[in-house]
């Protein structure tokens, strides 16, 4: 998920066209309204996105969401954590993180999210630097969001099946912010990639993200702690077929085919 290249961010004007945004329409149960009403995204079967400028925007539309149950590789829980100055509340930290989420990403990666920040049901389109000048195009779905946390879930074809929860809490005098990933590599190719350098890259990615957030909130230079737990060492071979949706392979093919695709579109416009 990493590679330094230069800061990139889809501008706000490019981020307008959102998709499955039924943010405030979380299901109302029979009887009383649950306490978490509006914090969960409404149920979707497949992601429906409209093209946004600034990112390629492929490999997301029509895809299903994938959790750790649907993934292939070993299951990991990784927690990246950073302490902030005492004056910042968890709510302030999360509000800032939501509002400026793409700005804290390492350079070279694009997150084209909603103009309004992070809300349940939003779909963000991602272009991730994977080396060799190729961008991996995929997306994430905002599964849950409240004042002290928000969670992104991945679609088919993403490097991993699972979710990332960004949260803040104040266990003592200081507020701590953390990103916690619960994931399996989505298919055998990604599992190989994660094993041979992918996990390390991901650790660097989220450590840099937290460092950038900490710097913004006045905690420049604060150390990021990383805790990695292998929750399940078994691989789920019944999900090896997930490789069909592999966005890395598709992104490479889309990059290679881009000139031909552009010519074909131009020909269609002129005819």
């Amino acid at each position: 998920m990493t590679e330094a290249a230069g800061p990139e961010r889809a501008t706000s004007a490019e981020q307008i066209e959102l998709s499955v945004r039924e943010a405030e329409s979380a299901v109302t149960p029979r009887g009383s309204v649950p306490k978490d009403h509006g914090r969960w995204a409404a149920k979707v079967d497949r992601l429906d996105v409209q093209q946004r400028a600034g990112v390629r925007g492929t490999n997301v539309a029509g895809r299903r969401l994938t959790g750790p149950v649907q993934g292939f590789g070993k299951m990991w829980q990784k927690t990246y954590r950073l302490d902030l100055p005492g004056g910042i509340t968890p709510q302030q930290a999360i509000a800032t993180w939501k509002a400026h989420f793409p700005e804290f990403w390492p350079a070279g990666n694009r997150f084209a999210g909603a103009l309004t920040g992070i809300s349940p049901g939003d779909v963000a389109l991602l272009d991730l630097a994977i080396g060799g000048g190729v961008k991996l195009s995929t997306g994430v779905f905002v599964l849950y969001a409240d004042d002290e946390s928000f969670t992104l879930m991945t679609p088919q074809g993403h490097m991993f099946a699972g979710w990332i929860t960004f949260s803040a809490e104040r266990p003592a005098a200081e507020t701590a912010v953390q990103a916690q990933v619960l994931m399996r590599a989505n298919d055998p190719l990604y599992e190989l990639a994660m094993t041979f350098g992918g996990h390390r890259k991901e650790d660097v990615f989220w450590a840099q993200t937290l460092t950038a957030l900490g710097t913004y909130l006045g905690a420049a230079g604060a150390p990021v702690s990383t805790r990695t737990v292998c929750v399940d060492s078994k691989r789920q071979w019944r999900h090896a077929g997930n490789v069909w949706h592999n966005s890395m392979i598709r992104s490479v093919l889309q990059t290679v085919a881009a000139p031909v695709t552009a010519l074909r579109r131009r020909a269609q416009r002129t005819s």
């Binding site: 299901v27 649950p34 969960w40 979707v44 149950v69 849950y144 266990p171």
Partner: protein, 118 residues
């Protein structure tokens, strides 16, 4: 981490079946409570664990993650996980997160136990 606002009572229905009655808020902070209930319910002879969500008041994404962890532990012991008592709201969250593909959802305790032959 906050104090867990949840209680989990274990009922052994038969030799191989146990029900965990969950009351309160299911968040990441209740992991010790859930794992303790699992230790009590999921002995070597237990083949099926049924989670009773009738008393569920609130669940966030941390709670869903904790259920995934429980699922892994149960699968490791070749135990099945089932659930009942979910409101329409929480049933849809199970479907959204696709947790329902691994934890079978029933309308009530009778149907959940009938499958187990308890």
């Amino acid at each position: 981490m906050q104090e867990p606002a949840v209680t989990m009572q274990v009922r052994h229905i038969a030799d191989a079946v146990a029900v965990v009655d969950i009351k309160g808020e299911v968040t990441a902070s209740c992991e010790p409570v859930l794992m303790s209930a699992y230790e009590e319910a999921g002995g070597p002879g237990t083949r099926r664990l049924v989670l009773n969500f009738t008393g569920l008041e609130y669940m966030n994404s941390g709670g869903i993650g904790m259920l995934v962890t429980l699922l892994v532990r149960a699968n490791r012991q070749r135990q099945q996980l089932a659930a009942y008592g979910l409101s329409e709201h929480y049933r849809e969250i199970f479907e959204l997160t696709r947790l329902d593909e691994a934890i079978t959802i029933y309308d009530g305790e009778a149907s959940a136990l009938a499958v187990a032959g308890a």
